[in-house]
Symmetry: C2
Subunit: 282 residues, 2 copies
């Protein structure tokens, strides 16, 4: 009912239309961060669609961190947008086969400048947090998890001091993804390295020496990049081994692997499922 009325600029499915409506509601200010939304049943009624069609939309919003849902309670509009990029970024990195090197390369282009701005603008609060993260890394002798969290907080605080929300959000995700990748390839974070560089950066910020802060940050990331290259060389043969396994598996049964994991059983009438490799290019 609500759908057929008004302009009815119908292109695409209900999902697209509903997501558009949510965007409008947010931009209008009808939906405010932290607010509780009506229940899915009510929402579906008032949008004039079934709950079946509404649910995917809520899931999309949830996965992008726009809303949070709790059974028995309800749905709330997310109060901070920091998590909006994390899931999509992970998929981007998966699809692009982005390496840790590329991420540190990107950070190298931006973070020194952010550190410079932080040196000029950092508040007492921010400097306090920086000190705390350094102390935390000192305290966590070999607890990788604690070190990483403190490391993340250190850089995040600098980004916030630089007062650039976009890069703050972005590099928080990038940094975390980097750490995840490193964990997966069983690379350890060198605590002493991290500590020394953080200390140097912090001191530069404390002295409000912008160019020195940028230089120290640059040193930090150059060092991190070097460590990554070195670690990747060490694990090169291991990954080569994996690659060979993967290829051989694909060889032994052309469609076998997909058939087992994803289960492409019978398509249409004819037997065409085997040579879909051709349509791969489109």
């Amino acid at each position: 009912m609500a759908r057929k009325t008004s302009a009815d600029s119908d292109k695409g499915d209900l999902t697209d239309w509903l997501i558009l409506r949510f965007k409008q509601l947010i931009s209008e200010g009808t939906l405010m961060p932290g607010h509780k939304l009506p229940s899915e049943r009510e929402l579906s009624m008032h949008f004039g669609v079934s709950r079946t069609s509404l649910r995917p939309v809520m899931k999309v919003l949830k996965m992008m961190g726009v809303v949070s849902q709790r059974v028995g309670d309800g749905t709330y509009l997310s109060s901070d947008a920091s998590s909006v990029l994390s899931e999509p970024m992970e998929f981007l990195f998966l699809l692009d086969e982005t390496s840790s090197q590329e991420l540190v390369e990107a950070r190298l282009m931006v973070e020194p400048a952010l550190a410079a701005k932080a040196a000029q603008q950092a508040t007492a609060e921010h400097r306090l947090i920086l000190r705390q993260t350094i102390a935390e890394i000192e305290a966590a002798s070999d607890d990788q998890f604690r070190i990483i969290e403190a490391d993340l907080l250190f850089h995040r605080t600098i980004h916030q001091s630089a007062d650039n929300r976009l890069f703050s959000r972005l590099f928080q995700v990038i940094h975390r993804s980097m750490m995840n990748m490193m964990m997966l390839t069983s690379q350890m974070v060198d605590r002493d390295h991290t500590l020394a560089f953080h200390q140097a950066i912090y001191e530069a910020i404390e002295r409000r020496d912008a160019s020195e802060a940028a230089r120290r940050m640059r040193d930090h990331l150059v060092d991190a990049r070097a460590l990554l290259v070195q670690a990747n060389r060490a694990h090169a043969d291991e990954r080569l081994h994996e690659r060979i396994q993967s290829v051989s598996r694909e060889h032994t049964a052309k469609n076998g692997l997909r058939g087992k994991v994803l289960g492409t059983t019978s398509r249409r009438r004819g037997v065409k499922s085997a040579n879909t490799t051709k349509s791969q290019t489109r």
Copy 2:
């Protein structure tokens, strides 16, 4: 069936679990870009879940641009990951109330460096495309749409020349969002301005003068920022007017607007829906 077996590291709902499985399938290489996925019915069978539970997951993947779906045909894994960030970014900008200024600010931090790299590395193909976009802007006398598309392609080509996929993807989205915002505030793109700056940047790249390319790009964005500030001043009272309208609407019926648009009718037993403003902070 497939779910109860194996490690069964159950946290969160089926959606999270399924998305995790898809990530694994992509990272394993079982799913390749461009490949056709089994039908939703088959997938739900082989994951051991109902189609009702699978569909939201496919929607999430579709909205993030990871897959594309066509009725009557099937689902395909996206061949390029460029669109993965666009939807989430839009929500991020909405929730953060990001302004065009902030976007151009971010570009100002990165794009000069990318232009410098492009000057050093740009291939003949890339330089050809740059020439073409300039010609296109010249040709499109006052067609805003054509100008914007050519503008986007110009910057995108430079990003690609700089060989940084992450920023290439990111700034493509940022640039487009900027243009959308400008269109919404009925700001026109000044064709002659754009043309002159692009010409200067292109010539620097053609001469492989990295520092000059960076400087010209910087000029371009500084100019764009100035135009935005100027345009925003001009439209300030207009937006103020809107704000007043919005506030007055909210005043006339405290819960009326939400009641009409979102329809918060009766909650639980008691009448508590009015003062949920308190829980806004959490």
